[in-house]
């Protein structure tokens, strides 16, 4: 047993992956021991999911090798990976909702002869795996009739049905209820006893400490550290995931007097998304919105921008009731939205960078429906220089830019429109540190110039560092409001999660926090 344990179940060697515009992984090397539950942690965009997809054969690495049980393997498709005993449970549910539960579970290996499906055997097999994960449903039912949590468990059953010995779980609990999460934990414990190796991608601390034995921390596509969980603690992990030299890179907040009230939201509700949200932002203020994914933060942003037809309540701008019901109307009142997902909502990737910047401003840059080229180019040049956008040329397609520069394009689009109320949803997700600092400086400048900024972010230090005030959302409701002076990482986290305060009590308040985050985070673990 011990001699077997010395060969790692999975060994990554200098694995790299590039997408047009971004480096997702760079020289990632680490080992996963057989029978362990190995946590992979990191911020959004750190490359965790990409790594999981490469291991499961969905993506092909640009460089490096993967060894399974000491044998170097090259996966051309998920089927290759399944043959080698690797299966993945996706973060995004990827299934055939129009097929029955049983078919989904056994999709890779439908039992039968000569192209004919043996339905009885199929249903029996599926039931075995479903019982194993503990889902209570009819195997003949269409998958679309199940709840999100049940679907997730069915997906795990399907992964088990492939006979996987190595299981990649990408944020498996993000769509599960507390009871289902509990069942999943029991299942994972059972699987480990049976000798299954589990790669557990998550950023939920409590889960990882309960379930896993080893942790790997990633940041910006690079492997930072791998360590037994017993030798570390939450605080250290948090610092590793986000740890940077704050004083050096990020602007120190300057107190400034707030102006007149710009945006007020009263009794803002949308059925099933958020309820009774009230807040106000004055000119020159940055209002940070903290909350877990799914707490309704982004939905509020969309609601203000007129993209949710079901909202009720009031949106008041400069004292006028506006209640926009389309983005065009919101824009008329000077609202701009930098949305969460810049690739699908922010940019037309195939178009030129410059064209993306002026996309929302064409009405002002045209006469009689004809674009005035010279005027347009002046605007493009202005914002390329102002935001230091790095591109081969303003005419290069937006997809050729790095994540940070793409984000700057989206910002430039709204700056070009001279938005007075700017809603930023995850403004620095998947952005490299340099660009992140520049974007932070820009947000600060914008506020100083009299813009009212509403900033939704999962990045807690970002919220604490930039915001004048912070509101916290939990389960679609306002969980608390904090002034800058009262906002601490511990306090905000407590409001976000509504529990776990005893674990976080040790975190220092913001001012000390900024100083204590070390410049050399790797030293903490090794």
């Amino acid at each position: 047993m011990s001699s077997e344990a010395s060969i790692p179940a999975v060994r990554f060697r200098k694995v790299g992956k590039r997408f047009p515009g971004t480096i997702a992984l760079e020289g990632v090397s680490f080992e996963v021991m057989p029978g362990s539950c190995h946590a992979i942690m990191g911020e959004n965009g750190a490359g965790k999911s990409t790594l999981g997809k490469i291991l499961a054969g969905i993506l092909r690495p640009d460089g490096g090798t993967i060894e399974i049980d000491g044998v170097e393997r090259e996966f051309h498709s998920p089927i290759d990976a399944q043959r080698a005993g690797v299966a993945i449970v996706h973060q995004e549910l990827s299934f055939c909702p129009n097929l029955s539960v049983a078919e989904n579970v056994c999709l890779a290996h439908l039992p039968g002869h000569a192209g004919r499906v043996d339905w009885r055997k199929l249903h029996k097999n599926a039931q075995i795996y479903l019982d194993q994960v503990g889902v209570d449903c009819d195997v003949r039912e269409e998958l679309s009739g199940l709840s999100g949590g049940q679907t997730q468990m069915v997906q795990i059953a399907a992964a088990l049905a492939t006979g996987a010995r190595i299981l990649v779980m990408d944020e498996p609990t993000s769509s599960l209820s507390a009871v289902e999460a509990q069942r999943l934990e029991e299942l994972i414990a059972r699987l480990r006893r049976q000798g299954t190796t589990i790669l557990y991608v998550s950023h939920r601390m409590d889960e990882i400490f309960r379930l896993c034995d080893t942790v790997t921390v990633m940041r910006d596509g690079q492997h930072l550290a791998t360590s037994p969980l017993a030798q570390t603690n939450e605080e250290e992990l948090v610092k590793l995931m986000i740890g940077r030299c704050w004083q050096k890179i990020f602007p120190v907040h300057v107190e400034r007097a707030a102006g007149a009230e710009r945006l007020r939201v009263k009794h803002f509700s949308s059925p099933g998304k958020f309820q009774d949200i009230n807040f106000a932002i004055r000119a020159g203020e940055v209002l940070g919105v903290a909350g877990l994914v799914g707490s309704g933060r982004s939905e509020v942003a969309l609601g203000i921008f007129g993209l949710d037809p079901k909202v009720s309540g009031q949106v008041v701008i400069d004292g006028c009731k506006v209640n926009p019901n389309s983005p065009q109307e919101a824009m008329k009142w000077g609202i701009g939205l930098v949305s969460e997902d810049r690739k699908s909502q922010g940019l037309v990737l195939g178009m030129e960078c410059g064209e993306n910047i002026t996309l929302s401003t064409l009405d002002r840059l045209s006469r009689g429906g004809v674009i005035r080229r010279r005027k347009e180019r002046d605007v493009i040049v202005t914002f390329f220089e102002k935001l230091c956008i790095k591109a081969a040329s303003p005419q290069a397609p937006a997809q050729s830019l790095s994540g940070g520069n793409q984000q700057k394009l989206v910002l430039a689009k709204w700056l070009a429109r001279e938005s007075r109320v700017l809603i930023l949803d995850e403004p620095t997700r998947g952005v490299d540190i340099g660009a992140k600092a520049e974007i932070h400086r820009l947000i600060d400048e914008l506020a100083a110039a009299g813009c009212a900024v509403l900033m939704v972010s999962s990045d807690l230090p970002e919220v604490l560092n930039l915001s004048t005030r912070v509101i916290v959302m939990r389960n679609g409701r306002l969980a608390g409001r904090l002034d800058r002076s009262e906002a601490t990482a511990a306090g905000v986290l407590k409001l976000m999660t509504g529990c776990g305060e005893e674990n976080l009590a040790g975190l220092p308040p913001l001012a000390a926090n900024r100083m204590s985050l070390s410049c050399k985070p790797t030293n903490l673990l090794s």
Binding site: R18, F19, Q345, G346, Q395
Partner: protein
């Protein structure tokens, strides 16, 4: 050529050099299509052989190239004009990521309506003797109006019912053709005022002894030039590309996405109306089976011309060249005395080949971009 070198960026800034942003004239995208066209023409001129025809003025027999002679090229241009004009319209729709299967039916309905109007005011119609100064523009207006109206309804259907354009236009294709059947009671209309036919669309000029009909060619060039300018320089043109490139991002950027879509379907219908007008004037007749199956030829022309069915890509000139290439191949099959039955096989192969080459070209470009990042 030095200016074409990509700007290489090092990870460490050596010294803060203020870069001058330069705007270059965009690359001519249709070089490949023009090349194919020239090559085809060249081959047909050489291998097409020659023909003995009597000279009209002197009565002597002269030897002319089968392909490269004025009336063959003129016929080629006329045959191309219907498809090219509609392909330009279809390209607009395809750029937004949609498809218009009803162009053939709109073409037919517009032609039938125009024919009924013109027959009424024709030499033997109820309104005979009406002034051609309003009958001719009236006929034009009926064709264009019916075309644009049908297209507008397509647009409303796509936007209002939120059904994929394939389904909507599949339905309207049958509806419009059905209306044409009902209106005509399956009879052909042929009795048009000659101011509309010989005096307008079929106006003849003599050039070195050959009779040429330059009006269809002129309209085709005019439509293409307008569409090219519109896509490049108008606000709506830019928005058409944005909607096709990323509809959600366009919505999030506050573009009038629905309105843009209605506009492109209307334009597609309008081009079908224009093509119908040319057909009426040139052939002097219309019936309810005009334009059967044209929708696929039109989409084929747009696709050969580089429009991507995934949306976001396509040019007006490409559509024209795509239609021209298909017609030249058709023409070549006749000139080279190849069995007519092979023509479909050849054209089909050309379409697949064109799309394949286009994709290879794009894969290479994406690779280049990834490396540059």
């Amino acid at each position: 050529m030095q200016t074409d070198q990509p700007i290489v960026m090092t990870s460490e800034p050596v010294e803060p050099v203020k870069r001058v942003l330069t705007f270059r004239r965009p690359r001519f995208k249709e070089t490949g299509l023009v090349g194919v066209l020239v090559a085809l023409g060249f081959l047909l001129s050489i291998f097409g052989g020659s023909l003995q025809i009597p000279n009209r003025e002197t009565g002597e027999s002269v030897k002319v190239n089968k392909f490269l002679r004025a009336d063959n090229l003129d016929r080629l241009a006329k045959n191309t004009s219907f498809f090219a004009i509609m392909a330009v319209g279809a390209t607009f729709v395809i750029i937004t990521g949609g498809i218009d299967l009803s162009v053939g039916a709109i073409y037919c309905l517009a032609a039938v309506c125009g024919a009924m109007f013109l027959t009424r005011f024709g030499p033997h119609g109820a309104g005979a003797g009406a002034s051609p100064f309003w009958v001719v523009p009236g006929g034009v207006l009926v064709c264009l109006g019916v075309g644009a109206g049908c297209g507008f309804l397509n647009g409303l259907g796509v936007v209002g019912l939120r059904v994929h354009s394939f389904v909507i236009t599949l339905g309207t294709m049958a509806i419009y053709r059905g209306i044409a059947f009902v209106l005509t009671k399956a009879q052909a209309y042929t009795d048009f005022p000659e101011q509309f036919t010989d005096g307008f669309i079929r106006r003849e000029i003599n050039w070195h002894g050959a009779s040429l009909y330059p009006v269809p060619l002129t309209i085709m060039i005019g439509v293409t030039a307008f569409a090219w300018w519109y896509l490049k320089h108008s606000v709506t043109g830019r928005q058409i590309f944005a909607v096709g490139g990323n509809e959600q991002a366009s919505l999030f950027s506050g573009l009038p996405v629905s309105w843009v879509k209605v506009k492109v379907y209307t334009f597609s219908g309008l081009t079908a109306g224009i093509a119908a007008m040319i057909m009426l004037g040139y052939y002097g007749s219309a019936s309810s089976d005009a334009g059967k199956g044209y929708e696929l030829d039109v989409i084929a022309a747009a696709v050969v011309g580089g429009a991507s069915l995934a949306g976001g890509r396509g040019t007006a000139l490409g559509a024209l060249l795509g239609a021209l290439i298909i017609q030249v191949i058709n023409n070549g099959i006749i000139i080279l005395n190849i069995d007519q039955n092979y023509s479909q096989i050849i054209i089909g192969a050309v379409i697949v080949l064109a799309v394949l080459l286009d994709r290879i070209n794009h894969t290479l470009r994406d690779k280049r971009l990834t490396r540059a990042a």
